[in-house]
Symmetry: C2
Subunit: 416 residues, 2 copies
């Protein structure tokens, strides 16, 4: 059956995207919509108004996740959830998160247009604060609280740069949610589908409009600190130096060499590095940096992390070096193979060739998969893989094609 996918309106999908592009629009063609900030709340208000006008049930929970539900035959059955997030990184792209929400919104309307009554409810969801290190230091706030991966207290306690806790931000958002039904965190769900821009170039290079995400990479982060001794750059001969930058470079070079896999599947990044005291005339006394390591295979992550720690421990340079694992780790996850195959079948029925690919970034689907085995992500291409950047771009035809697969898959899951 492809009735729901076929009912997806290209005009509505693109129209919604253009409307949301304008909320928090930046001078350089991006958006600035920090979690529960003015522009994020403006986007949510537009969705609430639309949903109430159409008679959908609108509800929320203790962390301001937003749910828009189209009823099914069994109103009390666990729904099929679909959606993503409306918040963005600072001065970032228009599609990251928002597209998944709009595809969910269109899915409800396409179900209406196709005249389908599903067995269970279908709920479009906006997860609060998916973008880590944007307004709040960590991401997937709403979905992690929903699944219990983080406690409610910890979640509401995170502070933004102005010292405003998430709890305070949730209370400040309440006027826009007056009259919405309040739901408990973690109500049962039957399945979860999230569509997102790829944030990589795999689909673009393959020339495909839609990809089926087979899993999400795991991540490990390690902070490494190298301590030497500050010294005068003019008077200190090489034999007396304990140059922390030099030793840090040696360590980074060795760690990188361990990650030169032929498959180009290991993601090794040193993105954050600080030199102290950072003066041209002073041999650096201390350098700290963070290694960000990602891979689809947990054993590979563990093996590399152990090898990194061993290399740091065995450091034989003039400086001392210590490694500390950071708490922001996730294990790789594989989405349900049956569901992946089902999504491939849906795309094929709609005449859209697809491929399987792995998500390099974490998404709300990561926490949700921990409590809902029937979780899946779909990707559409974005130009040059650029994301978290105002230049982020997705083609209208890809927005529409992705929404067709999304709508049909959700309809099928809710009808089974």
């Amino acid at each position: 059956m492809t009735a729901v996918g076929a009912a997806v309106s290209a005009e509505r999908v693109v129209g919604w995207q253009r409307r949301m592009d304008a909320i928090g629009a930046t001078a350089n063609g991006g958006v600035h919509r920090l979690a529960l900030g003015d522009t994020d709340l403006e986007a949510r208000a537009a969705l609430i108004e639309w949903a109430q006008a159409r008679g959908y049930d609108v509800s929320t929970d203790a962390v301001a996740n937003l749910f828009i539900t189209r009823a099914g035959r069994d109103a009390d059955a666990p729904p099929v959830l679909c959606g993503s997030h409306t918040d963005s990184q600072p001065y970032a792209g228009r599609f990251d998160g928002m597209y998944g929400v709009l595809a969910a919104v269109e899915t409800l309307q396409a179900l209406d247009d196709a005249g389908i009554e599903t067995a269970v409810p279908v709920t479009a969801v906006v997860w609060t604060g998916e973008e880590g290190g944007a307004r709040y230091p960590v991401g997937t706030l709403g979905s992690s609280a929903f699944t219990g991966r983080r406690t409610l207290d910890e979640t509401l306690g995170f502070k933004d740069a102005d010292g405003i806790t998430l709890g305070e931000a949730v209370r400040a958002a309440a006027p826009g949610m007056v009259g919405l039904r309040q739901r408990p965190l973690g109500f049962p769900i039957k399945a979860y589908v999230e569509i997102h821009i790829e944030q990589g170039r795999v689909l673009e290079e393959a020339g495909l409009a839609v990809g089926i995400v087979s899993g999400i990479q795991g991540m490990r982060r390690m902070a490494i600190e190298v301590v030497g001794a500050e010294a005068h750059s003019g008077t200190t001969p090489r034999r007396h130096r304990r140059d922390a930058l030099q030793d840090a470079i040696d360590i980074i070079t060795d760690l990188r060499a361990m990650c030169m896999d032929d498959e180009d599947a290991i993601r090794f990044t040193v993105g954050k590095l600080s030199v102290y005291p950072n003066a041209a005339s002073v041999v650096p006394g201390r350098v700290s940096f963070v290694v960000d390591l990602r891979h689809t295979d947990r054993d590979t992550l563990e093996r590399l992390v152990a090898a990194f720690a061993e290399r740091v421990k065995a450091h034989a340079g003039a400086c001392t070096a210590t490694a500390t694992m950071l708490a922001t780790t996730t294990d790789p996850l594989d989405f349900d193979a049956g569901l992946v195959a089902q999504a491939e079948g849906v795309a094929q029925a709609l005449g859209l060739p697809t491929m399987q690919l792995v998500s390099g970034a974490n998404h709300d689907a990561g926490p949700i998969a921990g409590v809902c085995p029937q979780t899946l992500m779909l990707f559409i291409p974005c130009r040059d893989g650029v994301s978290h950047n105002e230049a982020e771009h997705a083609e209208d035809e890809h927005l529409v094609a992705g929404t067709r697969v999304h709508a049909q898959l959700v309809a099928d899951l809710a009808s089974a």
Copy 2:
């Protein structure tokens, strides 16, 4: 003759040093005496009071250099100058600069005690603002203005972190200099002697109390910027990355390899390096760093700088790299060989074994040597070579031994 060297009073030398240690003293045993700041002016006031009480002529100039003159037979003859500076780096050591001023002060008094009338005047000098990057962005302010290496306008126009120009600071210091004779910049001088802590470990390792400085290293600074592309650390495969930190590391590694001389005479330092945007989850899009290169030989500096520029220009990584020479360069200089030999003779006559060594840091003697061929520096050891640090330490016996050589050499130069 060793009468003046022998007349040096250990008690006075150490007493002056302890008195000055207390002016701007820090909790960790160092001093904080920024150029023409309160504590620097307090130190100068103590010197002026002492000089006036003893009947020496005290004078100043347009950049607040301070001159204390003991008359000679020919009152109008160009004097022998000796001294250093009273300002310090922030929270730095007690001996850097100040010791050279106190040795000059003791030299005047030892001449008195020995009952010597010199042929020409002997002038103890305090040069304004020797420490670059402390209160003002560049150093040797007073000596460079004195010699015309920098114009008066440029010198007085430098601003501190609060936007206060050196000109304003000089005017603010005027109340402490009321009644002092005003002299033109760059009056003729017969010779210049400056004694300083070594800020390295050569004398300490050789077990010597005094060293004769044969010259000052030259310095070149090059700013290198590497521009790649910011990318998501989770989604961007190696083949698509343009990692600015990786390319910066490759360049630094290559430049460093060019500096591995057997003599360990080349001073190659990357002390300042910044990563943008400096986030763990973002492949660095830009890295900038400064190469500080020092050597005693101008040709070596020029050869290395050309090789560095060539390496950067030929950079074949994924990123682009550009190199810019910075204006803070100095050429190496050799002090007059005859004067070096004369100083060795003075030390020998005083029973103090010495060696020749090169200064890794620039000093006021650098600019002065440009206008006065009879310029020389002497060094005493400092513990572990530590300087620009509150832990800086020099032994009392070395302070005294150095002052004996300094006083006798100055006396001989002023008597010839």
